[in-house]
Amino acid sequence: MTVALTCQRVCVDIEAACILSNVDLTIHEGEFVAILGSNGSGKTTLMRAILGLLPVTSGTVDLFGFPLKRFRAWHKLAYVPQRLHSAGAVPVSVHEVVGAGLISPRHRLPQRGDRQRVTTALEQVGLAERRRDRFDELSGGQQRRAMIASALAKNADLYVLDEPTAGVDAESQIRIAETFSRLRTAGRTVILITHELGPFADLATRIVVLGSPRGETSTVLYDGPPPAPDHLVERVWHHSEDVVMRGDEGSFLDPGAK
């Protein structure tokens, strides 16, 4: 089986603070991996490092056998963020958001078949009728589905999803899970970053739990088939609640610390 992603002894610092240390992770093509962790466990940091959005302090990240710096096959990779950076600053149609997934230095100008790919992707997430609507007029769940459609239009091999079901209505959650069930069947690789599995519980073939056991720097606590050990998941769950409560009180400091 081909290796899609390899992380070897990856450490990431953000502004001199060590966020992640010694992360080892190898993901093969066709795997459906859920990376679980509470807020502050470094799962978003790991995701950004994998995508080349954050520099790795030490260790190596390889995508499809290439070190990140030399990786050029970006068409193999699709990333679905939690929200779009500038949605709503200028009106953007749903069709345009999905079509943006097809733009790359290889495809500078529109190509024959682009429209069909966008339409097909929108049909897969059940938003075909809303393609002319403004993106910012969709509900949160529909926006997430449109962003997923943008990744689907790309027809990538590896999909990286950041909390695809957080703040998403039940109907959209089910549709999103269905979409990724089809991708799994088609043999695509999916990396899911989330603090709770929700509708993906039956889809994940492997669970990776990130966290800091005794308040030190985050690393991999569990890596294996589902379900993750109860004490770790409990920990994830309680921590995220804890953080929300503490966040409300205005102190948002190091949720990993006791």
Binding site: R48, L51, G52, L53, R72, W74, H75, L77, A78, Y79, P81, L84, H85, S86, A87, A89, V90, P91, V92, S93, H95, E96, V97, A100, G101, I103, S104, P105, R106, R108, L109, P110, G126, L127, E129, R130, R132, D133, R134, E137, L138, S139, G141, Q142, S150, K154, V160, D169, E171
Partner: protein, 289 residues
């Protein structure tokens, strides 16, 4: 029309039409990137170029082009280094630009504040024949670059992280966009003036997006608004004998006001029912999505 019989008016109209088309095309990306005030700052920097031209006797348009483009590069370099220091650097470069421009102009012998005013607020009579060549050349360059990189810029301004994962070189494109904004500012320098040129980049976009539903339609409507206001503003300023810059900008603001008022009922409806089809998911409703 008697006004076309004047050579200087023909040249001014060409310059005005050019900025009316190009400014909103760059402005839409600046608004999307939430850098609406960047054009303003680049105008300040271009002023140093004008001052330098006065002092050295060089041609103002190419000198301002070079200085503004260098300022844009410097700005992006500092912004790339640090995000927090970037905001401060932005301010420092802008203040330096306007102070440098005024100081250099005062040092230049024989250049009064009238000459400076013509660059600050635009002037009908100062577009020389060789200026037109520079402006058309710079305008063509901006349009060719947009034709090649426009779609990547759209993806980059929509979400830089997603664009990065598509292989788009977001840092380089960001620099290119800032340099294009600097060039656009200089194209508008003669007709709209450096202090107001940013408005013709931003206000037509703000007017268009009151009732458009896509990026493409916003761009088209913004160009129509920009072109109409520039040409109409220029001819009005000729008739009333006032500087063209404020006339063009006030017309554009008028267009924005009309668009905002006309679109108000639509937007209020949207606000009340923000996710019109999302509601169909409620119990008993027929989901059509």
């Amino acid at each position: 029309m008697g006004l076309l019989s004047y050579d200087f008016m023909q040249r001014a109209l060409i310059a005005a039409a050019l900025i009316g088309v190009i400014a909103p095309l760059i402005g839409i990306f600046l608004v999307q990137r939430r850098l609406a005030l960047l054009g303003d700052g680049m105008g300040h920097v271009a002023l140093t170029g004008v001052g330098l031209a006065f002092l050295t006797g060089l041609a103002p348009v190419p000198t301002a082009l070079v200085v503004a483009a260098l300022g844009a590069l410097l700005l992006e370099l500092v912004r790339a280094r640090s995000r927090t220091a970037g905001d401060l650097a932005l301010a420092l470069i802008f203040y330096g630009g306007i102070a440098g421009g005024v100081l250099l102009t005062s040092l230049a012998s024989g250049k009064s504040s009238t000459a400076l005013n013509q660059y600050l607020f635009g002037s009908l009579s100062t577009v020389a024949t060789e200026d037109v060549l520079w402006l058309v050349g710079a305008g063509a360059l901006v349009i060719v670059i947009l034709a090649i990189f426009g779609r990547e810029m759209f993806a980059m301004t929509l979400d830089p992280d997603v664009a990065h994962v598509q292989g788009i070189r977001t840092t380089q494109l960001g620099i290119l966009l800032t340099v294009l904004a600097a060039v656009t500012v200089v194209i508008g320098m003669r007709t709209v003036g450096l202090l107001l040129v940013s408005a013709i980049m931003i206000v037509p976009v703000a007017a268009a997006q009151q009732f458009t539903g896509s990026f493409r339609s916003t761009a088209v409507v913004a160009v129509i608004v920009g072109l109409t206001c520039s040409v109409l503003g220029l001819t009005t300023s000729f008739t009333l004998d006032v500087p063209p810059g404020p006339t063009i900008v006030l017309l554009a603001l008028g267009a924005f006001l009309v668009a905002a008022l006309a679109a108000y009922p639509v937007r209020r409806r949207r606000r009340r029912h923000p996710h019109s089809s999302g509601r169909s998911l409620s119990p008993g409703g027929h989901s059509h999505d």
